[in-house]
Every structure is written in structure tokens, then in C-alpha cells.
Subunit: 311 residues, 2 copies
């Protein structure tokens, strides 16, 4: 059972892939509120940290307060159930699960068990996002343009699963944009129409456009997975006080008449700081809105078949 | 503003189509807790009831406590917003809206305004559903088979919209099965895999199969929109005490070793009775689980293109 009080949070890290090594481990090493107590991974292990082959073995072998899951979304539901049922707090990489029903079920289960569930959306912690939200307060939002164009071959080389049914396709990066938009816009993002392009023989789209609205503002979304050359992860918001621009996935903020503001990447340190706060307060943070918009798009958007695509 | 107390609930009915005439009007006429005070419809009107062209005009022209929306789902969101903002309680036909984000937004808005929102799922009120749920209590559920086979040409003649993107296709009737299953099964319905068949040139499926699980029970779902001859709306549930069968959309219940139990259709009288209770208690009932499973399927199921279909 979780007994945190003034103690450090004994954390078990599940999944030791690229995102764990690049982001989770440095963030944990720098945060004195956490003790990296154990890891679970089928094929990897860290020096000086007890390693187990899976979540159940890790929980059985080691006293923990919480787990952080950075395995791929497929399978994460079962791992989270195992942890919750053992009375541990759970932090989930994005997207929190493969279906909306899984997230709702995890939230119910965590509530019943009295543990904290935290569905993280790392892009929301990019340096420009909080200041952008603060600046928008009280402004009249007139139009929003979200443009997420990146090269699948550069960022997801050989990841066939991302274009399979259930892999989300271009919505895998696109959900980062939606996580920022749902955080900074005061009104819900309602889908009006859209299309997606799925290559022949694949199950998920390489491109999509969504027409949405938020309050009275038109929201135009362009997702493109075939962008070579300069990559674009931009959100522009026209207001009665001029246009705000969030560039590079939220890390650059440009307010009307100002220079660009840049700050070092602190997404994962901020996520773990928030998790520590949630654990201390005994509060969950389960926000399904970004995935809900993806689901809305898959239900409602027109689907076109395009030419075959090979990595 | 809604002032109900011991008074009858002054209800405005929005949309005077087939479902309104067949179901809503008789149910309202038989329920003394309601007074059908006004209607809103672009093209129809009732004798002896004040008629208005739309919700806003109806609300402006008449003192009401609540509205019941039985217009098609597309457009219902705006009508519900108008009613909620005017301080009226709202009852929604199924599916409650076209997207999950719309339902979540309506629920938030109703909560902020202090009015009741009721997302109805009429099949849940079929005669056999409550007794089935009661019988399943404490039984071990081993397997579930959901078979919904009907003839689109017979039940939806010429309704091209149902096969357009956003029309849900065979999930339009199928969601009735999912509304029953989510009511009577104790554990959430988790999608494992699935496929859907979409005719060339159309946006929504004519057939689908879903492999799900609920607790440890396998749940197999077959939806078919091309069933001529006998029509099937069956749910079979294998338990440690034998197999329960719900037939004809929930109206026939067969328990192991028993004769079939049939009762007259009281779906809509029960829905309005429930709405009256919710209004009296000041409580909302917003259940998105059936539509959430549809969304899960559209995100995750493999999509196959089949031969052209004409009505």
C-alpha cells in the first residue's frame, strides 16, 4: 500500500525504451521527491536498480508507492490494473490507453481503490503553454490554426504499428497539438467535419484535416505525416489583441509585438513534479479530452484511400 | 427557470417526426407528471398544442421547465445548449449527440447551470433488461454473444445519411445492443479487436464484428445491416448457472430452464418516468458508455471496403 507522507515516493518504472532513457530517467534523477526503486522490462535493465521482467514481478519483489508506465499504449491497461489493484499510484505516458473505455475503467478502478491516476500529456508542459494560456485569459478568441507537419520516416522509422488499425497514424503526433489546444482554449473543441487519408493496405491515416469550433472561434487543424524539410508544430490564435503563436510544439511563444520567448525543455520534470503534488494531495488527474477528439474524428471524418506507403 | 416542485413539468417537445408520434407523445399523454406545453418543429405542429419553428422561439414564447429533444443527432447539441442556457432541464434521444466531446460539453454546461441532463437509451428500458440484470447479480459470467442483424432497407428506407461519414451505419441500431450490454454486465466492455465493412463510396459500415471482453468473459459482437428474412436482436450470456437469452432487443427474456418471458413495450413511459424522477431529485444521468464503445471501434477496428450498396 502507498504510504508516502514525508517519505520519498518509491517509484517503479515500467518500460525502458527510448522515452524512458531520454526523458523519464533524467527527470526522476533530478527530483528528490522520488526514489527510483525498481524497473520492469522484458529486455532491459538499469545498473544499480533492481530489475524485474514485468509489473507483477516488480510489485511482488519490491515495496513501492507508485509506478510510471512508459511502455507502448497497447498492453498498458493490464499493467495499470495490476498496479492499481496492488494499491499503487499510477502515472501514464500519452496516450493513456488504446481506447476511451480503458481509460474510464482505470479511472473508476483508481477511485474505488483510493489511489492516484495521472494521465500525462507531455506537450502541455512545454515552456510556452502556461504563459499562452495565461495571456489568452479575458481575450476574445477569433480563430485558431493548428498545423502539425512532420516526417514519419524521420521520427518513426520502421514503426509499422503506427499505421496499423489502432495505431492512430498522424494522430499519434497530432494528439500532442490537441492536448495543448484543450489546455489553453477556454471552450470545448467541437468537431464539425473532417477528412483523413489512409494509404492503401494500411489502417491509420498519414494526413487529416479537421474543421472544429471552440466557442465562436473557427479552429482549423492540419495534420501531415509526410513533411520533409522544415518540420512544423505550430498553433496560431487570432484574438482581439492580436495573434499569439506557439511554435515547435509549444516550446516557443510569440505574443503580438513581442520577440519570441524560448525556454529549455522541462516537460518531464514538470510532469513528475505534478505527479508528486497529486500523490501528496491524494488527487487524480484524468483528462481524456485529447483522445476524445481523436475518437470524434475517427467516427465522423470522411476517409479517403491514397497511394501505398512504405517506410 | 425551472420551478417544478409539486407542479406538473411543463415540457417542450422538439422534433415531431416518427419517433415523437409513435413513442414520445403517447408516453407523455399517459404521464400525469408532465404537461406537453409546446412543440418546436420546422414543418410540423400538433392540434391544441402551441407550435414554434425552433427551440429558441419556443422558449421565448412559452414558460417551460424542460425540453425533450427527438430531432436527429446532428444539430441536437445547439438545441440542447439553447435550452440549458435558458435554465431548462433536457432529455436527449439516443445517441445523445454526434460526438463524445459534445456530450461532455453538455454535461459540463448543465452542471454549471444547475439543470438536469438525461441521456436516454431506450433499449435499456425494454421489459427483459432489468430482470436480466437482476438475475446476473452474483453469477459468474463466462461468455457473451451479441447478434444484431436487421435489414437496413426495411428499417431505414432511403436514409442515405446513415451510411455517410458520421452516420454510424450499422452502429446506429448496434448502439442499442451496447446500451443494454453496458447496463447489465458488471464489468466494462473492453475492445480487443474488430473489423467493419464499408461499401465503396460510403462513409459508414454495413457490417461489423467486435471482439471484446468484460471481466474474464469473452464478448463477441456481430452487427449486420443486410439481414433479410427473420431479424435478430439477441444477447446471450453464458453463466455458471446456465445461459440467459435476451431476444427481440431486450423485450423477451429466457432464463435457463424457464419459458420465455414477454411483456408489453413500455420503453418510453419508463424513460419519462425516470426523467420526472431525475427532475424531482435535481440529478443528471449522463452515460456515454455506449457511444464510447462505438468510438473505440471506429478508432481501432480494421476497415474493409466492400461492394457498392444502393437502397
Amino acid at each position: 500500500m502507498a504510504e508516502t507522507n514525508s517519505q520519498r515516493i518509491r517509484l517503479g518504472l515500467v518500460g525502458i525504451g527510448k522515452i524512458a532513457r531520454d526523458q523519464h530517467l533524467p527527470a526522476l534523477a533530478a527530483d528528490t521527491r522520488f526514489e527510483l526503486a525498481a524497473t520492469a522490462s522484458r529486455n532491459a535493465q538499469l545498473d544499480n536498480v533492481p530489475g524485474y521482467p514485468d509489473v507483477a514481478a516488480m510489485i511482488a519483489g519490491h515495496d513501492l508507492d507508485a509506478v510510471s508506465l512508459c511502455t507502448p499504449p497497447d498492453g498498458r491497461y493490464e499493467q495499470a490494473v495490476t498496479a492499481i489493484d496492488a494499491g499503487l499510484h499510477v502515472m501514464l505516458e500519452k496516450p493513456p490507453a488504446t481506447t476511451l473505455t480503458e481509460i474510464a475503467a482505470l479511472a473508476d478502478r483508481a477511485r474505488a481503490k483510493g489511489v492516484v491516476l495521472f494521465t500525462t500529456w507531455h506537450s502541455r508542459e512545454a515552456a510556452g503553454v502556461e504563459p499562452a494560456k495565461a495571456w489568452l485569459q479575458g481575450k476574445q478568441i477569433q480563430a485558431v490554426r493548428i498545423t502539425w507537419r512532420e516526417d514519419i520516416r524521420r521520427w518513426h522509422p520502421g514503426q509499422e504499428w503506427i499505421l496499423a488499425a489502432g495505431g492512430f497514424g498522424v494522430f499519434d503526433p497530432g494528439i500532442n497539438a490537441l492536448s495543448i489546444a484543450t489546455k489553453i482554449l477556454p471552450d470545448p473543441l467541437l468537431l464539425l467535419s473532417g477528412w483523413m487519408e489512409v494509404p492503401e493496405g494500411r489502417g491509420s491515416p498519414l494526413a487529416a484535416e479537421l474543421k472544429m469550433r471552440s466557442g465562436n472561434a473557427k479552429v482549423d487543424v492540419v495534420f501531415d505525416f509526410l513533411q520533409t524539410g522544415p518540420q512544423t508544430w505550430d498553433i496560431e490564435i487570432d484574438t482581439d489583441a492580436g495573434t499569439l503563436r506557439l511554435g515547435m510544439g509549444g516550446s516557443i511563444l510569440q505574443l503580438p509585438g513581442d520577440d519570441e520567448q524560448k525556454a529549455p525543455d522541462r516537460e518531464y520534470p514538470r510532469l513528475y513534479a505534478r505527479f508528486a503534488e497529486l500523490v501528496a494531495a491524494g488527487e487524480s488527474d484524468v483528462d481524456i479530452r485529447p483522445l476524445q477528439i481523436v475518437a470524434d474524428a475517427f467516427m465522423m471524418a470522411e476517409r479517403r484511400t491514397t497511394a501505398r506507403f512504405e517506410f
